[in-house]
């Protein structure tokens, strides 16, 4: 009887041991590769055409809804702002060198500095920043951050949150927050994660908030 119990116990124990998962094999990756993968996740790769509804509110309370088209082609950025009915209010292109060519600018989008500001916004939203140094770290909340530091010491932090949103904080050369972009509700389009909602807030005396809702995303 004791032998039978011992046999049953051994069988039970051996069966139990067989059900415990073993330590999985891990593939060694270099830290640099991991950092690149994590940081680039926040930005689309390749050529795209995005169409967003763009609701903007100035600090003065003035606001409207427009349709914004962004075309990313290699190093070129093209952007169009049009009324919901299709009339083009603003059209510009930024070359790889950073030179901005304005093709059309109707009032109030013909103000000095508007084109450069808008192209900067578009670039911040969609293009990984140029950097002299890129570091991956955690903030005090435990969120993963890619920090891009440019030659002129301008810092861009990409906060990689876990709940399906990212945030990009752009600081000026004095270290003051200049722009904050929150991207929410990511969905997969042609193998890439594209945010369905984006909110961009710019600080300063002429601050404004842009809310973008994705209408279409097409890989070119």
């Amino acid at each position: 009887m004791r032998i039978a119990c011992l046999f049953v116990c051994c069988l039970f124990v051996s069966c139990s041991v067989a059900q415990v998962p073993s330590v999985p094999q891990l593939q060694r990756v270099s830290f640099v590769d991991t950092k690149e993968a994590i940081c680039e996740y926040a930005f689309v790769q390749g050529n795209w055409q995005f169409v967003h509804s763009v609701s903007f509110v100035m600090d003065s309370g003035y606001g409207a809804t427009l349709v914004g088209v962004t075309v990313l082609q290699g190093k070129k950025l093209k952007t169009v702002l049009m009324g919901v009915e299709g009339f083009v209010l603003f059209e510009a292109e930024q070359e790889g060198s950073g030179r901005v060519i304005v093709r059309r600018a109707m009032p109030p989008f013909d103000k000095t500095g508007f084109a450069r500001g808008l192209m900067r916004d578009v670039q911040t939203l969609f293009v990984e920043p140029e950097y002299a140094e890129r570091t991956l770290a955690e903030n005090t909340e435990g969120e993963l951050i890619c920090r891009y530091t440019a030659d002129n010491n301008q810092v861009t932090d990409v906060v990689m949150a876990q709940q399906g949103w990212n945030r990009i904080n752009l600081y000026d050369t004095q270290g003051m927050l200049q722009q904050s972009i929150t991207a929410l509700n990511y969905k997969e389009v042609t193998g890439e994660n594209i945010p369905e909602r984006i909110q961009l807030t710019t600080s300063g005396t002429q601050g404004y908030t842009l809310k973008l809702q994705l209408l279409s995303a097409e890989k070119l």
């Binding site: 055409q49 609701s55 606001g63 809804t65 009324g83 919901v84 299709g86």
Partner: protein
């Protein structure tokens, strides 16, 4: 917004020029195709419009962004659907729009060639080209081509040229002429 409304009122209120039957109302579905050199793909929109003489218009887009432009008794309002509800937009150029509306009222019973805004030229039996008289408007719209259906008062398509490489084409379908349209259609989204 104001420009589109302006042009549409011009187009619809001017149909007596080429129509034997007086236009009291028109309604139709449309597909709008926006072409620009800068775009890798044209942008498509779908919608429906209602027009009631002399100056009531409902111009509604269903896709890609649900919005409604209403004109009624000289009042212009625009609504955009956000999070399932229509929100009125009050910011953009409403004063300028009222100025434009005043100009429109001068046309409504008239012949399109009488307008101070556009020169009309009949290209053939079914096509009219409108060219802005004023340089200010010409910077926004260089010309408009109207293609008329054989049936009086109805149009097959409108092409708005903003420049040589930028134009918006609207193709109309399911048009109904002089049918009763509820007044509320021009007042509420």
């Amino acid at each position: 917004m104001k420009l589109l409304g302006f042009i549409l009122l011009v187009i619809f209120s001017s149909t007596p020029l080429c129509a034997a039957q007086r236009v009291e109302s028109v309604q139709a579905d449309f597909v709008q195709e926006k072409n620009m050199a800068i775009l890798a793909r044209p942008l498509l929109s779908t919608g429906k419009f209602l027009y009631q003489a002399p100056d009531s218009l409902r111009w509604e887009y269903f896709t890609p962004l649900h919005s409604v432009l209403l004109m009624d008794n000289g009042q212009i309002r625009k609504f955009v659907k956000k999070d399932g509800q229509f929100v009125e937009e009050r910011g953009m150029g409403l004063n300028a729009m009222q100025v434009v509306m005043q100009e429109i009222t001068g046309w409504l019973d008239g012949d399109i060639t009488d307008t101070t805004t556009f020169l009309a030229k009949q290209i053939d039996a079914n096509r009219i080209v409108l060219t802005p008289r004023k340089e200010v408007l010409a910077k926004i719209i260089s010309r408009i081509e109207l293609k008329l259906l054989d049936q009086s008062g109805l149009m097959e398509s409108v092409i708005l040229y903003e420049g040589e490489d930028s134009f918006t084409k609207m193709n109309f379908s399911g048009a109904l002429l002089n049918q009763q349209i509820p007044e509320a259609s021009f007042r509420e989204p």
